[in-house]
């Protein structure tokens, strides 16, 4: 293969395995998949996330019953073939409510974190790259917000906005924003100190282009990892808000709201609490496993 000229010289250790001289390499996405696949816990997390999202998306098809339909014959019924997860206090099918409740929980996780990233990333980018008094101002504000525990802030905001699932998502998203501002800023500052940023300046890149073309793509992995982990936290937050009556409103199901009711029937119908509790646990675990796996797989130090 070598022609003896530098043209065909073999790249060193970092070269992909068994590489033919391609026009375009599979790029870093393929190697990222390979690294993620090598971590069983991350694959498990991803599988559960995909399963939950699938169940939530096709809830109408998957769920055996209407989640709000009551059946007086199934009031607090123990799990059976007809109602595998049992029935609740007004005879609704717990399995169907869990399935439909996944929409509220996952939706709250994804929407609120999406909101937090959409707000936090540009603000953090501005603070990190502009520096000076802009940075100082933004940082003091986020410090103030971060001083209040996440859940307390979300509860306060949700109470202020009024009880509804949308407001709960908004409250959770706003509460999580400062985390992303901080993270983005720290990442921007770290990347901005790298020599390739100076190299970008040296060829005449204007500041906006350095921020968007050179810095942003390099901080996406860290943001992605944090987002995954924050989704887990947001799911708990949504459950907590719904448990307190500040989230999903009855009769629409949500795992947190289901727990609220179930706490009154712990002796007679423990399945009412066990299934939503397990679902929250599973979803949070899955996102945490996935987040940890992403962190490892996206770590640039794993590359060479």
């Amino acid at each position: 293969m070598s022609t003896g000229t530098p043209l065909a010289e073999a790249p060193g250790l970092a070269a992909p395995a068994g590489q033919p001289a391609l026009v375009r390499e599979p790029g870093s996405l393929a190697s990222f998949w390979r690294r993620l696949r090598a971590r069983p816990s991350a694959v498990l997390g991803l599988a559960i996330v995909v399963l939950l999202v699938g169940v939530a998306a096709f809830a109408d098809i998957v769920a055996p019953y209407d989640p709000t339909a009551t059946d007086w014959g199934a009031v607090r019924a123990a799990p059976s073939l007809a109602h595998p997860f049992g029935g609740d206090e007004v005879g609704r099918d717990v399995l169907s409510r869990i399935i439909h409740g996944a929409r509220a929980s996952l939706g709250a996780g994804l929407v609120s974190v999406g909101l937090a990233v959409a707000l936090g990333l540009p603000i953090g980018l501005l603070a990190g790259y502009a520096g000076g008094w802009i940075d100082a101002l933004i940082m003091r504000l986020t410090d103030a917000l971060l001083a209040i525990p996440f859940l307390i802030l979300a509860i306060a905001l949700a109470a202020f906005l009024g009880p509804s699932l949308t407001n709960a998502m908004l409250a959770i998203g706003l509460s999580a924003t400062s985390t992303f501002v901080r993270l983005t800023r720290a990442q921007v500052r770290a990347v901005a100190a790298e020599e390739f940023v100076e190299a970008a300046r040296s060829v005449g890149n204007p500041p906006w282009r350095i921020a968007l073309v050179h810095i942003l793509p390099n901080i996406v992995p860290a943001i992605l990892v944090q987002a995954t982990l924050t989704i887990a936290a947001a799911i708990i937050a949504e459950a907590s808000l719904s448990f307190l009556g500040l989230g999903q409103q009855p009769p629409e199901p949500s795992w947190g709201a289901m727990l609220t009711v179930a706490k009154n029937f712990m002796d007679q119908a423990p399945w009412m609490a066990i299934w939503p509790g397990l679902s929250i646990f599973l979803a949070v675990l899955a996102f945490n496993l996935l987040g940890d796996g992403l962190r490892d797989a996206l770590d640039p130090r794993q590359r060479t």
Partner: protein, 358 residues
């Protein structure tokens, strides 16, 4: 040869101190195993200074770290071989016993003195630690010895400086402290891994001179690992050239520089510009084409063959054994299927003289 004993200790009847036999080290990385060390064998005698030259990926540092249990495992693993140090196989020793040897009978000096010294501990604490662990000295005796050691490495006003922190020392002084720690337990072997690479050239000169003096005073054996041919020329008895996890050439220092038998050694020597030659009439620098091999897929045969203009078809198919070079000084070993002196002689008259740059 007897005229200059100091240059030829490899031939002197020192007892074998370290005997490395067919050492192999593999790193299990994603996308395939990296064959970092591929059958390295050599003997180091008591009091001998061995200069190991190679570039990154040559296995020069990894094989030494591996034999002392200092590579992370996993992903690293020792795939074979023996390392006999004073008759004991280091590779078979339990970690506890190995720890007693590291920093005890074998001392270390690493490349970056700042990251090897603990910034939160005074210099005294860091020198005293191995003395108490390995020699079981009392606190008072260890401190006295620490002071002697700082004197030994020529740090002025040692008593006052013992209680200072690493950041209060200059780069060169920090490397002196590292050498003091390396020598603390009177090792039989001192291993210096790129010990002067991070230092300025004037400081490097001072450290090299210091090591030379210490060697004369203490008589320990030294393994000096570097990529700098100039540094090994001055302090080595024996030079060993490594590439792609193998020894390509090994022999008495004068023989290696005056009569290189491997094309890689020759290429390295020729690619160095001459400090004493002006710009007028100068030639284009000799360059070795290509890059070092991907150690996940080392080329079959001689690893340098793909970059070697003198390579024969056999080089590309079969790894030559490391054996006595015909007609060379005794103990001058080379791994090559080609006869380099004959090839150079055929090139152009006077080419050999070019090897002696000064």
């Amino acid at each position: 040869m007897s005229a200059d004993m100091s240059t030829d200790i490899a031939e002197a009847p020192g007892a074998p101190l370290l005997d490395v036999r067919d050492l192999r080290v593999v790193f299990d990385a994603e996308g395939g195993a990296v064959h970092a060390v591929n059958g390295v064998s050599y003997t180091l005698r008591e009091g001998e200074t061995l200069g190991i030259v190679g570039e990154s990926g040559s296995g020069k540092s990894v094989h030494v770290l591996a034999m002392l249990g200092l590579i992370p495992r996993p992903p690293g693993r020792i795939a074979g071989g023996q390392v006999l140090f004073e008759g004991e196989d280091l590779l078979a020793l339990p970690e506890r016993r190995l720890r007693r040897i590291r920093g005890g009978r074998i001392g270390f000096v690493f490349q970056d003195p700042m990251s090897s010294l603990n910034p939160g501990m005074t210099v005294a604490q860091q020198i005293v630690e191995p003395l108490r662990i390995h020699l079981g000295l009392s606190a008072r005796a260890a401190r006295a010895r620490a002071r002697e050691l700082l004197d030994l490495v020529r740090i002025p006003n040692a008593a006052a400086r013992l209680d200072q922190y690493p950041h209060e020392f200059s780069g060169g002084q920090r490397q002196r402290v590292m050498i003091a720690i390396g020598l603390a337990c009177r090792p039989k072997l001192l291993i210096a891994d790129e010990a002067t690479t991070a230092l300025d050239v004037t400081v490097q000169a001072e450290i090299v001179a210091l090591v030379q003096e210490l060697k004369r005073e203490l008589g320990m054996a030294i393994i000096w690992i570097t990529h700098d041919l100039g540094v090994v020329a001055g302090i080595s008895d024996t030079v060993q050239v490594m590439y792609a996890g193998r020894i390509l050439e090994r022999g008495p220092v004068d023989a290696i520089f005056a009569d290189p038998r491997n094309a890689y050694t020759l290429g390295l020597l020729r690619s160095l510009p001459d400090l004493g030659r002006g710009r007028a009439g100068r030639q284009r620098l000799h360059q070795i084409e290509g890059s070092p091999p991907d150690m996940r897929h080392p080329p079959p045969g001689d690893p340098f063959a793909p970059r070697n203009a003198y390579a024969t078809p056999r080089c590309r198919a079969e790894m030559p054994p490391l054996a006595q070079a015909p007609g060379a000084a005794p103990g001058h070993l080379v791994a090559a299927w080609y006869d380099l002196p004959a090839l150079i002689a055929g090139e152009r008259p006077g080419a050999r003289e070019g090897l002696r740059p000064c």
